[in-house]
């Protein structure tokens, strides 16, 4: 019980340091190669459903206009945000990475999840934070891992871990049917989530030929094969088309 309280406090302290981290892979061990690129978006931009937060004035007050769902977030530079890019295969057999002791934080703020898409290592703690102070439940609809569904009726933080790799675990709140986040669980740190500029970077890769997959909740997956050696940097771009 005390431990969880301590996690809540340290969670807040670590939040700043970790804010950027959830969108970038953990620091590479030593040197290694880099694969980076952009996820472009072409075609029709879908209209996002507006969220009616009338039932939750505390959340509604956090927005100037009417908030929308985040199923497809297109950046001003024509790139696609919230794409989970990761090494699907190609690592040496038996490659393992120790899980960082520090948690990845998923915040419930304004009745939306922050971040909307995130990655975590097997065994690494996921700190689920309720900044809204109203009832949220957090259901992890895991298939390879055991699922969970816990309630947070107040400002609090709960910590969970995942035992097995899984692409992707859907996280949802049933009190607020629009709230949804996606969690990638991997046995290695080579993943990245595209942000406001649509770019991704996978650093510290051992030499090899990799299958890189880009996953998006609506536009599903694309893969690319990239071979890297030494400490070189290679670029590969993905492109998703609106329908």
């Amino acid at each position: 019980m005390r431990k969880l309280g301590a996690v809540a406090v340290t969670g807040a302290v670590l939040a700043l340091a970790l804010a950027a981290w959830t969108r970038q892979p953990p620091a590479p061990a030593q040197g290694g190669a880099t694969i980076s690129g952009k996820v472009k978006f072409t075609g029709a931009k879908p209209a996002l459903p507006k969220i009616d937060m009338t039932e939750e004035p505390k959340c509604k007050a956090k927005y100037q206009g009417v908030p929308t769902e985040e199923t497809v977030v297109i950046n001003p530079n024509g790139t696609l945000a919230n794409v989970f890019v990761y090494v699907k295969s190609g690592l040496p057999a038996g490659y393992t990475a120790p899980a960082p002791a520090g948690p990845v934080t998923l915040d419930q703020d304004g009745c939306r999840y922050h971040p909307h898409v995130l990655g975590i290592l097997v065994g690494q703690p996921l700190a689920i934070k309720n900044s809204d102070g109203i009832l949220h439940n957090i259901k992890a609809k895991a298939k390879a891992n055991r699922p969970f569904n816990i309630s947070q009726p107040t400002t609090m933080t709960s910590t969970k871990t995942f035992d097995k790799p899984e692409i992707m675990v859907a996280l949802e709140c049933n009190v607020h049917g629009w709230m949804r986040a996606w969690l990638g669980v991997l046995p290695h740190p080579f993943f990245s989530v595209t942000g406001a500029d649509g770019s991704f970077t996978l650093k510290g890769l051992p030499p090899g030929t990799y299958t890189i997959e880009a996953w998006h909740e609506k536009y599903l997956t694309q893969t690319a094969t990239v071979t890297v050696a030494g400490s070189e940097t290679k670029t590969t771009d993905f492109s998703f088309a609106g329908k």
């Binding site: 309630s151 947070q152 035992d163």
Partner: protein, 522 residues
């Protein structure tokens, strides 16, 4: 021959599964039981997709994910063998799952339990710890005002009302958006009907559901809140006790006859009249209309409470029922569409019916004439040649009419209508229908005679569940008995009889005394 013998030998040698309190489980024999009794709903491969599954809501369990609602284990954990066996033995009330105790032998139930575990690889995964939580005992005083007040306080503070509604009838603001893990629509439980709770309706059962949650549904576990000191274990018990207090002390018994006493003064015409509190209420369960097309397998209204009184001239009938929605309610249109898409019907081959803003409806049915014997018209709204007399009430337009039902397709409205007054509050309809006992149209309108058994049946529609026309909930025939006031003679004659007996007794004693006095005097 040899192989047959070998097979016999194999079957005769069940292998015990270690670490189970239920020894001698045989998955081969379990499979035979499963194929015969379970696969029709749960599917050959245990995916919850048997032939009958599409007609059910909630759907049969999909065993492949190892995900179970009713457990004694923490959120997301596998159930214990005892948990699985309880569901098999007792069934899951409020769903299509019956209890199998008494239908299958102990060994058959244990074997089939072992077999359904083979559908999910999680049960074979030794890294999964399957441990029942340790539950405390309920604190005393659970039905006292103070305990219930504390329970109610936490009902509000942990947000139960978001789904279950302010008064617990499953009508909270989030209720129309709920879906289960397979994306099927799911109702927040009506907490006033604890006899329909899947995991049992006792205080202990409710407390366990709060601790464990119902996996695969929106209902989360509240166990972390104790660990994080948001509430104490005792307060969680108080919440369970409060939830239990919303339902009657015992599950309602179905009796055949509604007794309507005669009252002095005039009958209460308003649903909120305090006079109703003194009138016995009777519960009548309803079932889906599955006889004629379009059939309906998932009726939203599980039953009605009925009360009757008369004043010698007029009958007042109050019908109350739980309904999450005051239909038509556009907030539930999407939910209605999902229900119609989930539940197979027989409207037409092809696309499911479109959700429309149907009203709520209730019908009370009588024969046109009181039968001399037990003969009554066809219960399902009569036939063309032998119609029934019905009162039909709709929420929009808010009115009651009377007419003759000539089968499901035809309803001929009559000139004389009953008066209808209805209120909707927090997930409950209360409707009072009043009509003169005797009417001029004796050919078509039942004449309600005190002291006679008046056949009566009920039908209910929840518009927001897509119920309309023959998609409805139905009852069988029951009876209404309008009691005559007890004549004063009934009370006086026993007293008179007692006085006469006493008088005669005294005479006998006096005589005997006189005789004995005369003898001793001699």
């Amino acid at each position: 021959m040899i192989s047959a013998l070998l097979l016999l030998a194999l079957r005769a040698a069940p292998f015990p599964i270690p670490d189970s309190p239920f020894p001698l489980q045989d998955t081969t024999k379990g499979k035979a039981v499963y194929v015969k009794w379970c696969a029709g709903c749960h599917g050959d491969a245990g995916a919850g997709d048997g032939a009958a599954a599409a007609y059910m809501l909630p759907r049969p369990r999909n065993f492949t994910g190892g995900l179970y609602k009713i457990r004694t284990t923490a959120s997301g954990q596998l159930p214990t063998d005892a948990d699985l066996l309880r569901a098999i033995d007792d069934g899951l009330p409020g769903s299509a799952m019956p209890g199998w105790k008494g239908r299958l032998s102990d060994a058959e139930r244990r074997n089939v339990m072992a077999y359904i575990k083979t559908f999910s690889s999680f049960f074979a995964d030794t890294s999964q710890h399957v441990a029942a939580l340790k539950f405390s005992s309920p604190p005393s005083g659970g039905t006292g005002d103070q305990a219930l007040k504390v329970g109610r306080q936490f009902y509000d503070s942990i947000g139960c009302r978001k789904c279950h509604g302010d008064q617990g009838r499953g009508d909270g603001p989030s209720a129309p958006t709920l879906k289960d893990d397979a994306d099927f629509p799911i109702f927040a439980a009506d907490l006033h009907q604890n006899w329909r709770f899947r995991g049992g309706g006792s205080v202990e059962d409710i407390y366990r559901r709060l601790r464990t949650g119902l996996d695969g549904t929106p209902m989360p576990s509240f166990a972390d809140l104790i660990d994080q000191k948001f509430l104490t274990d005792e307060e969680l018990w108080r919440l369970a006790q409060y939830v239990r207090s919303l339902s009657p002390g015992a599950a309602p018994e179905v009796r055949d006859v509604v007794h309507g006493p005669q009252i002095t003064g005039t009958v209460p015409v308003s649903p909120g009249d305090s006079a109703w509190a003194r009138v016995t209420r009777y519960w009548f369960p309803l079932a889906g209309q599955v006889i004629h097309t379009s059939r309906w397998f998932v009726p939203a209204v599980s039953g009605v409470w009925v009360q009757a009184v008369h004043d010698g001239k007029t009958l007042a009938l109050r019908v109350s029922w739980d309904d999450r929605t005051e239909s038509p309610d556009t907030a539930w249109l999407k939910f209605e569409q999902r229900v119609l898409e989930t539940v197979a019907g027989d409207d037409s081959a092809g696309s499911p019916p479109r959700a429309e803003p149907w009203p709520d409806q209730l019908a009370v049915q009588f024969p046109r004439h009181l039968p001399p014997g037990m003969e009554r018209p066809y219960f399902l709204m009569g036939t063309a040649t032998d119609p029934v007399y019905q009162w039909r009430w709709t929420s929009q337009p808010r009115r009651a009419v009377a007419g003759l039902g000539r089968g499901l397709e035809r309803f001929d409205t009559l000139a004389g209508a009953p008066a209808g007054e209805a209120t909707y509050e927090h997930g409950e309809w209360r409707l009072v229908l009043t009509r003169a006992l005797a009417t001029p149209d004796t050919a078509n309108e039942v004449q309600l005679e005190a002291g006679r058994a008046i056949p009566m049946a009920f039908f209910a529609w929840d518009g927001s569940s897509g119920e309309h026309g023959s998609r409805m909930a139905v009852s069988t025939w029951y009876f209404l008995a309008l009691d005559r006031p007890t004549p004063p003679g009934v009370f006086i004659s026993p007293v008179l009889a007692m006085l006469v007996t006493l008088g005669l007794g005294l005479v006998v004693v006096r005589r005997a005394q006189r005789r004995s006095a005369a003898r001793s005097g001699v």
